[in-house]
C-alpha cells in the first residue's frame, strides 16, 4: 500500500499520475496557484492546455473524453472559474460524459465570509454533477480524488467536482494510493439477470416488426459494446436506428441502418418506431426529442430497455422488459444465450417488415432541392463528408440547424467520431470540444461543424488552438440566422423573426487571420470542393466560412406535440397546423 507524505497540491498531481492522466485543460487563478506551481515543477508527462475561458476547459475535457474514451480532467480557480465551468458540467451531466473538475477554493477560514472570488462551488454544482466534494481535511484528499475518478467513469458516467481550499493545497498530509480505496456504498450494477435477458430474447424470437433503437450508452460502454451490438444486430437481421448520441455505434452506411430517429430523424426510422411490434432500446433514454408525443409513442410495441441507470427505466416510457446493466455485459450474455438456445428470428415476418421499410425509404426524406447558385447547407455537409470520409475524421458540432444537418448527412462508421451536445444543447460546445478531440488524436482530421451564431459563443478558444498548435478545422454553415430559432419562428410564430437575425457578423476570414489561423470563404457551389480540399490540406487551424442559403429548414421534422407518424417532410408540407399545446413545448 502506497502511503506517503505530500502537500495537497502534490497529491493532486500524484492522483493524476495514479489514474494515468496525462492531459489537463485549465485556467489559473489565485485559489489554484499551488497546484499550478506543482505543474511548473512537474517533470512528468502531464500536458496542460491553457484555454481562454473555463467553459472552454470543460468542453475541451468533454471532447477529449468522448474522442478517447478516457476521463476528461480540467482545473479551474474559485469563484468565476467555477461558475464559468458550470455550463460544461451541466452539459457533461446530460450527455453522461466522465469528467473530473478540480476547483480551487478560498482558504478554509474564509469560507462563508463572502471572500474575494468565493462562491459555494459544491452548492452551485450539486445538481449538475454526478457527485462533488469540498475537501475539509488534507488527509481526506487522496481518498476523495480516487473516489472522484471512480465515480466519474463507472456506472452511468458523469462529471464530478473536487473543490480544494487553498490552505489544503499547501498543507502536508498522508497520501494513500488508489488500490486500497473503495467507495463505501457506490457499486453500479453491470450485469442484468439472465432470466430477464431470456425473456427479452423470447420477445425477439416472436417479433414480426422489430426495431433496434440504440443510443450513447453503447458508445459509453466502450468498444466491446460496439462490437457486440454489431454482432447482435447482424445475428437478428433487424433494422436499427440510433439517437443523435449513438451515431457511429453501428455503421451509418450499413444496409440495416435506417438513419437517425426523433425530431429530425428519417421518415423510415420514425415510422418504424411508430409501427413496430418490438422496440429494443439499447443504451438510450426515451428523451423527449426521440419520443415526440408520449401518449402516441410506439403504441403497439413490446419494449425492451437496456440501461445502466435504473432511474431511466419507466421514467418517461413504460417498458415490458427492463435490463439494468452495462450494454457490453448485457449483450455478451444475450448473444451467448441466443446461441446456446439456438434461437431463431421469424425470417418471413422480418422480410415483410423490411419491405414496408423499403417503401418508407422511397419517400427519400433527406432529399432536398439543390441549387447551382447558392450553396444548400445539406449539400455543404454532403460534400464535406464525401471529401473527408476516407480520413477517419472526428466531427464535433455546435447546436442548431447545422448540427442536425451534420447528423443527417455525415455518416459515421466508428464510435467516438461524433461529438455533439445533445442533452443540454450547448451553443459554443463545438470548438473547445474539437480542441479536446484534437488533443486526444493529434494526427487525425478534426472538424467542428458550426453555425455562425454558435461559433461566436466560444470563439476565444481559437487562441488555444493556435498556442497549442492544434489544427482544428471550423466549418461554419453561415446563413446569418440563428437558423433553428428562425425555423421555429417560421413554423410556430407566424414568421416573426424576433432577434434571430445576426447583423454585424465578423468577417470570418479576417477573424481567422487575426488569430493566426487560415480563413477561407466560399459562396458558390462550384468552389465548394476546392475550398474544402484547401481546408483539409492546410496544416493548422482553419475557419471556413461557408455562405449558404438563408432560408433552408431542417426536415423531416416532428413538430412539438406530434407523434412519429405526423412528420413534416420538407417543402410543400409546411402548412400542417401546430396545436396550442404543441407550441408551449420546446
Amino acid at each position: 500500500m502506497v502511503s506517503i507524505q505530500l502537500t495537497g497540491a502534490e497529491m493532486v498531481l500524484q492522483a493524476f499520475e495514479d489514474h494515468k492522466v496525462d492531459t489537463l485543460f485549465g485556467y489559473p487563478g489565485g485559489a489554484v496557484l499551488p497546484i499550478y506551481d506543482e505543474l511548473a515543477k512537474d517533470k512528468n508527462s502531464i500536458h496542460h492546455y491553457l484555454v481562454r475561458h473555463e467553459q472552454g476547459a470543460a468542453h475541451a475535457a468533454e471532447g477529449y473524453a468522448r474522442a478517447s474514451g478516457k476521463v476528461g480532467v480540467f482545473l479551474v480557480t474559485s469563484g468565476p472559474g467555477v461558475t464559468n465551468a458550470v455550463t460544461g458540467l451541466a452539459d457533461a451531466m446530460m450527455d453522461s460524459i466522465p469528467l473530473v473538475c478540480i476547483s480551487g477554493q478560498v482558504p478554509s477560514h474564509l469560507i462563508g465570509t463572502d471572500a474575494f472570488q468565493e462562491c459555494d462551488a459544491v452548492g452551485i454544482t450539486r445538481p449538475c454533477t454526478k457527485h462533488n466534494w469540498l475537501v475539509k481535511d488534507i488527509n481526506d484528499l487522496s481518498r476523495i480524488l480516487h473516489e472522484a475518478f471512480y465515480i466519474a467513469a463507472s456506472g452511468r458516467p458523469g462529471p464530478v467536482l473536487v473543490d480544494i481550499p487553498k490552505d489544503i493545497q499547501f498543507q502536508t498530509g498522508t497520501y494513500i494510493g488508489p488500490e486500497t480505496i473503495k467507495h463505501k456504498s457506490y457499486r453500479p450494477k453491470l450485469k442484468a439477470s439472465i432470466d430477464k435477458i431470456d425473456e427479452a430474447l423470447k420477445l425477439i424470437v416472436k417479433a414480426q416488426k422489430p426495431v433496434f433503437y440504440t443510443g450513447g450508452g453503447v458508445i459509453n460502454s466502450g468498444n466491446a459494446a460496439v462490437q457486440l451490438l454489431r454482432e447482435f444486430v447482424r445475428l437478428t437481421g433487424f433494422p436499427i436506428t440510433s439517437t443523435l448520441q449513438g451515431l457511429g455505434a453501428f455503421p451509418g452506411d450499413d444496409n440495416q441502418f435506417i438513419g437517425m430517429l426523433g425530431m429530425h430523424g428519417t421518415y423510415e426510422a420514425n415510422m418504424a418506431m411508430h409501427d413496430c411490434d418490438l422496440l429494443i432500446n439499447i443504451g438510450a433514454r426515451f428523451d423527449d426529442r426521440i419520443t415526440g408525443k408520449v401518449d402516441e409513442f410506439s403504441p403497439d410495441s413490446k419494449k425492451i430497455h437496456v440501461d445502466i441507470d435504473p432511474s431511466s427505466i419507466n421514467k418517461t416510457i413504460n417498458v415490458d422488459v427492463p435490463l439494468v446493466g452495462d450494454v457490453a455485459h448485457v449483450l455478451e450474455d444475450a448473444i451467448k444465450l441466443w446461441k446456446s438456445n439456438v434461437y431463431k428470428v421469424d425470417k418471413a415476418a422480418v422480410k415483410n417488415w423490411w419491405s414496408t421499410i423499403e417503401k418508407w425509404k422511397e419517400k427519400d426524406s433527406l432529399g432536398y432541392k439543390n441549387d447551382e447558385k447558392t450553396i444548400k447547407p445539406q449539400y455543404a455537409i454532403q460534400r464535406l463528408y464525401e471529401l473527408t470520409k476516407d480520413k477517419d475524421s472526428y466531427i464535433t458540432t455546435e447546436v442548431g440547424q447545422h448540427q442536425m444537418w451534420a447528423a443527417q448527412y455525415y455518416k459515421f462508421n466508428k464510435p467516438n467520431r461524433w461529438i455533439t451536445s445533445g442533452g443540454l444543447g450547448t451553443m459554443g460546445f463545438g470548438l473547445p470540444a474539437a480542441i479536446g478531440a484534437q488533443v486526444a488524436h493529434p494526427d487525425k482530421l478534426v472538424i467542428d461543424i458550426a453555425g455562425e451564431a454558435s461559433i461566436l459563443m466560444c470563439i476565444q478558444e481559437m487562441s488555444t488552438a493556435i498556442q497549442h498548435q492544434l489544427p482544428v478545422k471550423i466549418f461554419i454553415i453561415n446563413n446569418q440566422y440563428m437558423g433553428m430559432v428562425r425555423q421555429w419562428q417560421e413554423l410556430l410564430h407566424d414568421k416573426r423573426y424576433s432577434h434571430s437575425y445576426t447583423d454585424a457578423l465578423p468577417d470570418f476570414v479576417k477573424l481567422a487571420e487575426a488569430y493566426g489561423a487560415k480563413g477561407i470563404r466560399v459562396e458558390s457551389p462550384a468552389e465548394l470542393d476546392k475550398g474544402i480540399q484547401e481546408m483539409i490540406d492546410y496544416n493548422g487551424p482553419v475557419i471556413f466560412d461557408c455562405v449558404v442559403d438563408q432560408n433552408e429548414n431542417v426536415y423531416p421534422m416532428i413538430p412539438s406535440g406530434k407523434a412519429h407518424n405526423e412528420m413534416l417532410l420538407g417543402k410543400g408540407n409546411e402548412d400542417s397546423e401546430i396545436s396550442d399545446e404543441g407550441k408551449v413545448l420546446v
Partner: protein, 165 residues
C-alpha cells in the same frame, strides 16, 4: 391517485447529504410536506431521512429511483406502500387561556395522553406523540381554546415486523 407517501432514505452522513436529497426533490418538481433527519448509526455514520410527499405510486417510484442514484444514498423506500409502515410524530403545543377554556384544554389533553411540560397561570405547553392525524385532531381541538404556537418534528416511520430496511 395522489395521496401522501412516507419515504425513508438511509444515507452516509457526510456534509451536504441533506442538501443533495432535498435539492433533488425540489429540482425535479416534487414537494415535501414534512421532513425529519438524524444519524441512526453512530459507528458507520448512517443517517435516516424521512419525508412525506404527495403523489401517486408511479411518481413516488420515479422519485425513489432518482434518490437511489445519489452517491451517498444507500437505500430509499416507500414506507407507506411497500412496508405498511408505522408513522409517528411528536408535537409541542402551546395554549394560552384562562378560566373555562384553560380547564377544557387540560381535560382534552388528558384524553389525548398529552403531557404538560410547562405551565404558567395562563398557559400550558403540551407534549404529544402519535400519528400525524392524531396530532392534527389535537391541534384542531385546541384552536378555539387559545392555541398559540405549535412545533412538530415531522413524521418518522419504521416498517412493521422483523424486517430491516
Amino acid at each position: 391517485m395522489e395521496s401522501k407517501h412516507t419515504v425513508s432514505v438511509l444515507v452516509d452522513n457526510e456534509p451536504g447529504v441533506l442538501a443533495r436529497v432535498i435539492g433533488l426533490i425540489s429540482g425535479r418538481g416534487y414537494n415535501i410536506d414534512s421532513l425529519s433527519v438524524a444519524e441512526v448509526d453512530m459507528e458507520s455514520h448512517v443517517s435516516r431521512i424521512t419525508f412525506v410527499t404527495l403523489g401517486n405510486e408511479i411518481t413516488i417510484n420515479k422519485m425513489i429511483a432518482q434518490l437511489q442514484k445519489l452517491i451517498p444514498v444507500k437505500k430509499a423506500i416507500n414506507i407507506t406502500l411497500d412496508k405498511q409502515g408505522i408513522e409517528r410524530e411528536m408535537a409541542l403545543v402551546k395554549v394560552v387561556a384562562t378560566g373555562e377554556k384553560r380547564v377544557e384544554s387540560l381535560r382534552l389533553s388528558d384524553a389525548f395522553r398529552a403531557k404538560v411540560i410547562d405551565t404558567t397561570h395562563d398557559s400550558f405547553v403540551f407534549e404529544l406523540n402519535g400519528s400525524p392525524v392524531k396530532i392534527d385532531a389535537f391541534i384542531d381541538l385546541m384552536t378555539p381554546l387559545g392555541l398559540s404556537e405549535v412545533s412538530r418534528t415531522g413524521v418518522v416511520a419504521i416498517a412493521r415486523g422483523s424486517e430491516k430496511l
